[in-house]
Amino acid sequence: MDLRDYIIRRLLLLIPVLFGITLLIFAVLMLFSPSQRAAVYATSPKALKNIDVIIQKYGLNEPIYVQYFTWLKQVLSGNLGFSQIASRPVLEAILDKLPATFELALFSAPLILIPGFYLGTVAATHKDKLVDQFSRVLAIVGWSLPTFWLGLILLMFFSGILPTGRLSNQAVLLKQSEAFTVYTGMNTVDALLNGKFWMFFDAVQHLILPAVTLAVVSMAALMRIMRSSMLEELRAKYVTTARAKGLKEETVINKHARRNALISPVTTATWMVALLFNGVAVVEIIFNYKGIGWLFIRSAQQLDIATVLGFSLFNGLIIMLFNLLADILYAYLDPRINY
């Protein structure tokens, strides 16, 4: 099908975009002095002690374009430098924290998407009725709460009921024991794969507060966007045609109006989810949930350049992939798109 060609074409287009991202990051890197930049090339703490060697080895005093290619080669070979914060190579540090953030994102995303789309639709079909008023209040409350504030409030109300961190001590012990195999790094998934249901519930308990905190604002926004999109579609002429065919109202709403109403909110929703995968630092810090957002803040505070840049590269990659996903979903949902 044409859609497949389109996806392939878009994937190829990623190459120049990636190139652009590396250029940007490199430009930022060049703002620092050679000795500061050395960390970006080092592979071990030992190497960091001999900064002059690094400067020599990677030509940090050479012309910029030469340096760019040396640096790019390092990046492509997986060397993002040494993270002082994590005391290990940056790539390893990121990969170590990634599963935590992904797990949180995977729990949070449905909390945004399902109520967002569902309540938005219901609010539109029951405009000015009780459900709609309820959704309006929910939206105002959701919007007006800054995430960090909501996080703190939840933390206050649920302290003692719902734990912070990622796992209880007991579960950590299990995780580190011989008997436990780490498959994905996502605790819930690994617990299930190891057949340890109590650990699964343990992990879920830890996820509830950060996941809800992350979801509320986006959910409220998505709900309102879906509502107005749906209201607009319900006024469309093809809806009258559908009714005039004698279709049930349920079919008119779900098959006809909603299918069209989804098109633009899906793009917004994809972006919301992309942000989750990048790790929301505020939430990770409030709940002491050690994901990449947490790592990023720690390294930014300490001006750990290598980690910050590695993180930026990762961010760029995620945004790019989700952007691609959004475009593909859009093309899939709307047959009028010319690819």
């Binding site: 093809y238 009258t240 005039a244 004698g246 109202e249 299918r259 009028r336």
Partner: protein, 396 residues
């Protein structure tokens, strides 16, 4: 609910009133509309923009949606079994059974009347199956029963029998969760493919009927891949899918090229003969009226002010509004309504008495105070004006 009506009216509107509750106030869009459509005739409604033509057409199928409301009147419709019903008294479910089945509608803008995200085939099939699935299901049931007789394998027989049970549940419209989920299970939902196959066959036939070349292609196309004329033909095919008795066409050609317009008009004329249709044809083009209508109602600001045979309207218009419309026709080929003097009345605070009086050359005090009623001044020629009976004016 049946009302005795010893006439051959397919449709009769009595005192229909429609209101829209808007921020600007209550829009009195229809203010007691009366007319009737006889069996197998084409009845036209003409009038300026905003006079309530589309609202009238939608009301007939109860398609007025919020903030609109039908507040008064009767819509008497003669069903295929000859019983007469008042559409306004039906339950929502009963209205759905009539919509698209006994009364169909063609819309003003074909470009927007089709859902952009579904193929024409999908939308046609949907229209077909919304009223004819039982017929098809019965056929399929018979086919499967024959299959069972010839089938030796015990398991296959069992599966086919399950299909029959499901079909029966579907025919009885038992929309239970169970039926819904069962009909998703592969092996036993084979009848659904057959149903879809039959609907497709019928859809292609319909596309041929409306003289679309390459119906197979059009079936697969999305609306945006078709021209305006093609889209309108698809919509006509959809409207005819379950052999309606009444077809409402709301300016079906006004957004199309002139050459395509006349083709669509002659197609409608042919289809009318073929399918024994009665047509309500709405337009603001008097040329079109002359071409295809048998009788015409002239609409002004939410009222039908004159009804007559086509010839009488053109040769002997009686209402001052009709007269000015006809005088305003330019002698050239273009027969769009020319704007006549004065402004279209505001429907939130309409003029008192006869709504036409501010623009009427013959208006007097009486016209301002009380609205005249529709009277049969000549045989089959109804007019709503104090002055039409005598040219000087004070008789009625």
């Amino acid at each position: 609910m049946s009302v005795n009506a010893p006439n051959d009216n397919v449709l009769e509107l009595k005192g229909l009133k429609v209101r829209f509750d808007t921020y600007e106030g209550l829009v009195k869009a229809l203010e007691g509309v009366n007319f009737n459509i006889k069996s197998k005739e084409t009845f036209g409604i003409v009038g300026e923009t905003g006079c309530g033509k589309s609202v009238t057409a939608k009301s007939i199928m109860r398609l007025i949606s919020s903030p609109g409301k039908i507040t008064d009147g009767e819509i008497l419709f003669k069903r295929e079994n000859n019983g007469v019903i008042d559409i306004l008294e039906l339950s929502d479910k009963e209205v759905r059974e009539i919509r698209g089945d006994e009364i169909s509608m063609i819309f003003q803008e074909p470009g927007e009347a089709l859902n952009p995200v579904y193929t024409t085939g999908y939308q046609l099939k949907e229209a077909i199956l919304s009223h004819q699935s039982n017929e098809f299901l019965k056929e399929i049931k018979n086919e499967i029963e024959r299959e069972i007789e010839e089938e030796d394998s015990y398991i296959k027989k069992k599966l086919l029998n399950t299909q029959i049970k499901l079909i029966k549940r579907n025919i009885k419209k038992e929309d239970s969760r169970l039926t819904k989920y069962l009909s998703k299970i592969p092996l036993i939902n084979g009848y659904k493919d057959k149903l879809s196959e039959k609907a497709k066959e019928k859809a292609i036939n319909l596309l041929e009927d409306v003289e679309l070349s390459e119906p197979e292609e059009i079936y697969k196309n999305y609306p945006h891949e078709l021209s305006g004329g093609q889209k309108q033909r698809v919509i006509i095919a959809m409207a005819l899918s379950s052999e309606p008795t009444l077809l409402t066409a709301d300016e079906p050609t006004s957004s199309l090229d002139v050459s395509i317009q006349s083709k669509i008009l002659s197609l409608l004329d042919e289809l009318k003969e073929e399918h024994n249709l009665s047509i309500l044809y709405i337009t603001h083009n008097l040329g079109v009226v002359a071409q295809i209508c048998d009788r015409v109602g002239v609409m002004y600001s939410g009222r039908i002010v004159e009804i007559a045979n086509v010839n009488d309207i053109f040769e002997n218009p009686l209402h001052p509004y009709t007269i000015s419309l006809i005088e305003a026709i330019p002698s050239s080929e273009k027969e769009e309504l020319n704007p006549i003097g004065g402004v279209v009345p505001n429907l939130v605070n309409p003029p008192s008495g006869c709504r036409f009086h501010p623009r009427c050359p013959r208006a007097n005090e009486r016209c301002k105070k009380k609205r005249p009623s529709l009277k049969e001044l000549e045989k089959d020629h109804w007019v709503e004006c104090y002055h039409s009976g005598d040219k000087d004016g004070e008789l009625n």
